[in-house]
C-alpha cells in the first residue's frame, strides 16, 4: 500500500513542525487518510522538552508548579488564548497519545505527572517544563530538592562533564552559575575519543559516535576518574540518536550513577531524535509525507467539498485533493506568516492576520520587556471549531482548520507553552475535523 501513489486524502496537513506532526498523528489515529507537506526542519529546533504551560501571566513572569492549575488560571483570565479553549482533559489525553507514540518509536519520555518539572539548560538557567525525555529526567529529579527550600533536602553531589570543542556548552559555566544554589556541583572537561584532532565538535556527530560500543566505553572510562563522590552525572545531549535509550543505559551502568542530559543550543540532538521518532510514527501509521514539497496553490471547491493542493518541490509537480485541510505552517521562521514593512500576511491563502496597527508597535524597546512583543501575539483568529476567519469574520472554508503557533492571542515563547499549544490545538481541531467529516459522510 505504501508504494501506491494516491492523490486523494481525508486530510491534508500543511506544515511539519510540532503542530503539523501532532495533527497528522492524531488524524492517523482516528483512521483518516492523511498527507503531510513540509520538511520537518522546524522540529530540529526543539529541545526535546514538551512544555505545556509554565508561565502565566507572562507579564508577571509567574511560574507554575502545576500546568493544570496554570491552565485553569489562563482560562479565567485569558479566555481567548488558544490553550484556554481546549478542555484540560483533552489536553491530558493529547499529551499521553503523543508521548506514547514517541515511546513506540524509541523516544522514551518519563511518565507524565500532574506537575511541571525543572531542568537545567546549557547556560545554567532552570527551565520549567512538562514532558521530560527519559534521558533528562535524572536531572529533573535532582532539582526537585532545589524546589523544596523548606525541607532539609540538598541536591545530590553532581558532576557535569563537557567536551573540548563543543562550543556552546561549558560545564564550568553551569556549575559556576548555580554554585550558590547547588553546592555539590562539580565540572570536568574531556577530549571526545576519536575527535582529538577535530577543532569544532557538533553534538550530532558525537551522538552518532556514541552509538558504537568502543567510543562509548572509552568515553565512560575518561569520565570515571573524575567521578569522586558524585551521585549523579550530567552531560550535554549527545547520548545517541535513534539508540538513545541503549546509550543512556550503558552510561548509567558504566558509571554506576544516574546520568542525565542537558539540552544544548538548537539545532540539537533532541530535535534530531524527535524528528526521527516522528517520521517513524508517521510512516507506521500510513501518513504520506512530502518532505521537499511546498504548497504553491490551495483552492476549495464548494460543489465537491474538496480542497486541491498544488505542490512544488515534487518532480513534475503534484496535485492532491483533500476533504479537509489543516494549516500548521507556523509563524515567521516557519513561513506561515510573512511580514514586510507594511504588515503581516498569511503566506498561503492571504487570510486576515490579527496584528498591531503599525510596525512601531510590533516590538518593545527592551528585548526582555516582561510584557513581550505584540507581534508575537499576532496570528490567525478562528471560530470555536478552529476554523480561521476570512475578512467577513466567517470561516474561510468549512473544513479549513488552523493549529499551533500561527494562532493569534498567544505568546508561546514567554508562556513556555509551545508544545502544549501545538499538541492541544491539533487534538482539538482534529476532533472538530473528524466530527465534520463524519457528519458529511455519515
Amino acid at each position: 500500500m505504501t508504494g501506491e501513489r494516491r492523490n486523494s486524502f481525508d486530510v491534508a496537513v500543511i506544515g511539519a513542525g510540532m503542530a503539523g506532526m501532532a495533527a497528522a498523528l492524531f488524524a492517523a489515529q482516528r483512521g483518516l487518510s492523511c498527507i503531510q507537506v513540509g520538511s520537518g526542519g522546524g522540529v530540529l529546533f526543539a529541545s526535546g522538552l514538551l512544555d505545556l504551560l509554565a508561565v502565566h501571566p507572562a507579564a508577571e513572569g509567574r511560574q507554575w508548579q502545576s500546568p493544570f492549575a496554570a491552565l485553569a488560571a489562563l482560562a479565567r483570565e485569558q479566555p481567548d488564548h488558544p490553550l484556554a479553549r481546549v478542555d484540560p482533559a483533552s489536553i491530558r489525553t493529547a499529551f499521553e497519545t503523543f508521548v506514547t507514540a514517541l515511546g513506540e518509536a524509541g523516544l522514551a519520555y518519563a511518565p507524565l505527572d500532574e506537575r511541571n518539572r525543572k531542568v537545567l539548560t546549557s547556560i545554567g538557567t532552570l527551565k520549567t517544563t512538562f514532558g521530560v525525555p527519559l534521558s533528562m529526567v535524572a536531572g529533573a529529579n535532582a532539582l526537585d530538592a532545589l524546589d523544596a527550600p523548606n525541607t532539609p533536602n540538598t541536591p545530590p553531589r553532581c558532576l557535569l562533564v563537557d567536551f573540548r570543542g563543543l562550543r556552546e556548552f561549558s560545564a564550568r559555566q553551569i556549575a559556576t552559575t548555580l554554585a550558590d544554589r547547588w553546592p555539590g556541583l562539580c565540572h570536568g572537561r574531556i577530549e571526545f575519543p576519536g575527535f582529538e584532532d577535530v577543532p569544532e565538535l557538533y553534538a550530532a556527530h558525537l551522538a552518532r559516535a556514541l552509538e558504537t560500543g568502543e567510543t562509548r566505553d572509552r568515553t565512560i572510562a575518561l569520565i570515571r576518574p573524575m567521578l569522586g563522590d558524585a551521585q549523579l552525572v550530567g552531560l550535554p545531549t549527545v547520548l545517541g540518536l535513534g539508540r538513545c535509550r541503549e546509550v543512556h543505559a550503558a552510561f548509567e551502568a558504566g558509571l554506576g550513577v544516574p546520568v542525565f542530559e542537558i539540552p544544548t543550543m538548537p539545532t540539537s540532538v533532541p530535535g534530531l531524535r524527535l524528528l526521527g521518532a516522528l517520521e517513524t510514527v508517521m510512516s507506521a501509521r500510513g501518513v504520506r509525507r512530502r518532505r521537499l514539497a511546498s504548497v504553491r496553490a490551495l483552492a476549495f471547491d464548494a460543489n465537491t467539498g474538496t480542497a486541491t493542493l498544488d505542490l512544488d518541490g515534487v518532480p513534475g509537480g503534484e496535485r492532491v485533493s483533500a476533504r479537509a485541510v489543516v494549516l500548521a505552517t507556523g509563524r515567521f521562521s516557519g513561513r506561515g506568516l510573512t511580514a514586510d514593512r507594511g504588515g503581516v500576511r498569511e503566506s498561503i491563502l492571504g487570510l486576515p492576520v490579527h496584528q498591531p496597527a503599525s510596525r512601531e508597535a510590533w516590538h518593545q524597546r527592551d528585548f526582555l520587556d516582561p510584557s513581550g512583543h505584540a507581534i508575537n501575539r499576532a496570528g490567525l483568529r478562528t471560530d470555536d471549531a478552529w476554523r480561521p476567519l476570512d475578512m467577513s469574520g466567517k470561516p474561510a472554508w468549512p473544513r479549513l482548520f488552523a493549529v499551533g503557533s500561527i494562532l493569534a492571542d498567544q505568546d508561546w515563547m514567554r508562556s513556555k507553552c509551545g508544545s502544549g499549544l501545538a499538541i492541544a490545538t491539533a487534538w482539538a481541531a482534529m476532533q472538530q475535523l473528524a466530527d465534520q467529516l463524519h457528519g458529511n459522510t455519515g
Binding site: 529546533f45 529541545s47 508561565v55 513572569g61 539548560t121 546549557s122 547556560i123 545554567g124 538557567t125 532552570l126 527551565k127 520549567t128 558532576l159 573540548r164 570543542g165 562550543r167 556552546e168 556548552f169 561549558s170 564550568r172 559555566q173 559556576t176 552559575t177 554554585a179 550558590d180 556541583l185 562539580c186 565540572h187 570536568g188 572537561r189 574531556i190 584532532d197 577535530v198 577543532p199 573524575m226 569522586g228 539540552p263 543550543m265 538548537p266 515567521f332 521562521s333 513561513r335 511580514a339 514586510d340 514593512r341 503599525s358 510596525r359 512601531e360 510590533w362 516590538h363 524597546r365 527592551d366 528585548f367 526582555l368 507581534i375 508575537n376 515563547m413 514567554r414 513556555k416 509551545g418
Partner: protein
C-alpha cells in the same frame, strides 16, 4: 578628614570619542601629560555611530565650502597617516531622474571652486562597475570618498597616547567641577565600578564630550547653546556596492551608501531631539531611509537589513550664541574666556573626517595656555598600527584564524568568523591595562555580534568560552549575554520584517523560550562584577 584620592595632570580630556582620543595622542606626541575620562567606552557616542565615511568634501561643496575644503584636506592627510584604518574605495555621486538638474550641472563647478577633484563617469560605465545603481541614473561623478573604521582610529590613537604616558579612565563620569575665580581647580570623577570619587587636578581641561559637551560645560557654569540632531543608519545583510555611493543633490535623508566589509550601511536621517538619554532608531526612520535610498539603489526595496543604529550630532546654536572664535562652520573651539574661565576649552561639532584637525586646534589652544611650544605633528606622523586594536576590521579575525589554524581555536562568532583566540587577545589586552573587560567591550573591539544573528548565538558561545577560561565567577556571565544581546536588540527592532524578523523570532525562541532569560532578568542584574581569572576548586578535569 581624609582627602579623596587625587590625580594630577597637565590636561584633563573629557570624552573618549574620535576627537578626545585624537587630542590625547596629539598632546602626548607634544610631550604633554594628559588624562582622558570617558563615561562609557571609546567611541560609545556618535563617534561609533556614523557611516565611517571619510568625506572627499563633495557633499558640502554647495552649502558649506569651508567645511568641504577642510574635509578634502583632512581626508588626504588621514589616508597618509592612518592608512590601516581606511579602505580607499572611492565614491560616486549619482543623480536619478527627477533630481535637480541645475544642481547636477553646477556640481563639478562647485567642486572645482573648492579644489575637490571630480570626474564625470558615463552612466553605463558606472552601472557596469556598480550594478546595484538604478537604471534611472542620469549623471555620475567620481570623487575621492573612502571609508574609515572609527573604532580602529580611536583605539590606535589612544594606544599610542597611552604608550607615551597618557592615562585612560573608562566608565568614569564627571560629577563636578570645582571652580575658583577664573580657574577650574579640580574635576571630580566617579567610576561606574564604584569606589570613591577621584579629584583630578589639571592645569587645563578640554571638554570633548560630543553631544554631552553642553552638560559638561554647564557643570563649570559655562552655558553653550547646543541642539541635537539624531541620525539613523541601516546595515544591509549583504554588500550592495564596492564604492561609497552618494546622491547627487543637496544633503538630505537616505542619500549615502557606504561599504562596510561584507555589508553596506545606508543612511542617514536628521531629526531634532531634545534629550540624549533615549536615542534609538525608529521604524519611521527605517522606512524613510529605505524609500529614499531605493531611488538610487532599487535592490534596497527587497534587501534584508540586519541592524539599525542612531547617533546624535551635536550642533551649535545660532553662531552669535557660540563663541565668535569658531574655527569654521564645521566645528567649534570655545575658549570659555567670555564665561570667565581661563583653563577650560570645549571642542565640538565637526565630522569624523576632521577629527584630527579638531584635536590639533584644541591642542594648540591648550599648549599656548600651558606655554608649550612644540608644534602639532599628527599631520605627518603615521599612526602606529596596534594588533589588538584592529579586530574591528571585517575579515581580519577570519584571516588570522585561517593562517594559524590551531586545533583548539574554534570560531565563536560564525557570522563574522571570530575565533576564541581573538576574544582571548582582546580580553587579555584589557586586563593587562588594568581594566575589567565585558562582553560589550568585546563587541566594540571586534566583529562579534555584527552578523545576521546579532549576538543571538555568538554571545552564548562567547560567554561559554569565557566561563571556561575562568573570566566569570558568578552568574554575571549570563547578565553579560543579556546586556550584549539587549543592546544589539535595540538596533534591530526598527528593521524587523522579512527574513530578519524570522531570525529575531528564532533568537527569542532560544533566549526566552528555552533559556527563560526574561524570567531571571532581575536576579541576573544583581550579580557582582566580573573578577580576574583564578583556579577553580570545582574543576575535576585531570591536569
Amino acid at each position: 578628614m581624609i582627602s579623596p584620592p587625587r590625580i594630577q595632570t597637565q590636561v584633563l580630556i573629557i570624552g573618549g570619542g574620535v576627537t578626545g582620543t585624537a587630542l590625547a595622542r596629539d598632546l602626548a606626541l607634544r610631550g604633554v601629560d594628559c588624562v582622558l575620562v570617558e563615561k562609557d567606552d571609546i567611541n560609545a557616542g556618535a563617534s561609533g555611530r556614523n557611516h565611517g565615511l571619510l568625506h572627499s568634501g563633495a557633499r558640502y561643496v554647495a552649502g558649506d565650502r569651508e567645511a568641504a575644503m577642510e574635509c578634502c584636506a583632512e581626508g588626504e592627510i588621514l589616508k597618509r597617516v592612518a592608512a590601516q584604518a581606511i579602505h580607499d574605495s572611492g565614491g560616486y555621486f549619482v543623480a536619478v531622474e527627477g533630481d535637480d538638474e541645475r544642481y547636477i550641472a553646477d556640481f563639478p563647478l562647485y567642486c572645482a571652486r573648492a579644489g575637490i577633484g571630480t570626474r564625470a563617469v558615463d552612466v553605463a560605465t558606472a552601472r557596469a562597475l556598480e550594478p546595484a545603481l538604478s537604471d534611472r541614473a542620469i549623471a555620475v561623478f567620481e570623487v575621492a570618498d573612502a571609508s574609515i573604521d572609527p573604532f580602529q582610529l580611536s583605539l590606535e590613537s589612544m594606544a599610542q597616547a597611552r604608550s607615551l604616558g597618557a592615562r585612560l579612565m573608562r566608565r568614569t563620569r564627571v560629577v563636578g567641577l570645582e571652580r575658583e575665580g577664573r580657574l577650574i581647580r579640580a574635576v571630580r570623577v566617579r567610576s561606574m565600578a564604584g569606589g570613591e570619587d577621584v579629584r583630578i587636578e589639571a592645569a587645563q581641561v578640554v571638554n570633548a564630550a560630543g553631544a554631552w559637551a553642553r552638560e559638561v560645560a554647564l557643570l563649570a557654569g559655562a552655558p553653550i547653546d547646543m541642539t541635537y540632531s539624531q541620525g539613523t543608519l541601516l546595515v544591509t545583510h549583504t554588500r550592495l556596492a564596492s564604492r561609497v555611493v552618494n546622491r547627487l543633490r543637496r544633503p538630505g535623508n537616505g542619500d549615502i551608501l557606504m561599504p562596510g566589509g561584507t555589508v553596506s550601511l545606508v543612511g542617514t536621517t536628521s531629526t531634532r531631539v531634545d534629550a540624549l538619554d533615549d536615542i534609538h532608531p525608529t521604524t519611521a526612520d527605517a522606512d524613510l531611509i529605505v524609500e529614499e535610498a531605493t531611488r538610487m539603489l532599487p535592490a534596497l526595496a527587497t534587501m534584508r537589513f540586519i541592524r539599525a543604529f542612531a547617533g546624535v550630532r551635536p550642533l551649535l546654536g545660532s553662531p552669535g550664541a557660540a563663541d565668535s572664535r569658531s574655527v569654521s562652520r564645521g566645528f567649534a573651539l570655545i575658549d570659555h574666556e567670555d564665561h570667565g574661565l581661563d583653563n577650560l576649552a570645549t571642542i565640538t561639532g565637526g565630522k569624523l573626517t576632521t577629527c584630527r584637525l579638531m584635536a590639533e586646534r584644541a591642542a594648540d589652544l591648550v599648549c599656548r595656555r600651558l606655554g608649550v611650544t612644540r608644534p602639532c605633528v599628527t599631520a605627518t606622523t603615521p599612526l602606529p598600527a596596534v594588533p589588538e586594536c584592529e579586530w574591528t576590521e571585517p575579515g581580519r579575525s577570519a584571516r588570522e584564524w585561517m593562517r594559524s589554524h590551531a586545533s583548539d581555536d574554534t570560531l565563536l562568532c560564525e557570522c563574522e568568523m571570530v575565533p576564541g583566540s581573538t576574544v582571548d587577545a582582546i580580553f587579555d589586552a584589557l586586563r593587562a591595562a588594568g581594566d575589567t573587560p565585558t562582553l560589550t567591550d568585546l563587541g566594540l573591539r571586534s566583529r562579534v555580534g555584527k552578523g545576521p544573528c546579532q549576538g543571538g548565538f555568538c554571545a552564548v558561545r562567547t560567554v561559554a568560552h569565557l566561563y571556561q577560561r575562568g573570566d566569570f565567577h558568578t552568574q554575571h556571565g549570563l547578565a553579560e549575554i543579556l546586556d550584549f544581546f539587549g543592546e544589539r536588540w535595540r538596533g534591530q527592532r526598527a528593521i524587523l520584517w522579512g527574513e530578519q524578523l524570522a531570525q529575531a523570532e528564532l533568537m527569542e525562541a532560544l533566549h526566552c523560550g528555552l533559556f527563560g532569560e526574561e524570567l531571571r532578568g532581575e536576579g541576573l542584574r544583581r550579580a557582582g562584577p566580573p573578577a580576574a581569572p583564578n583556579a577553580d576548586p570545582a574543576d575535576k578535569s585531570s591536569p
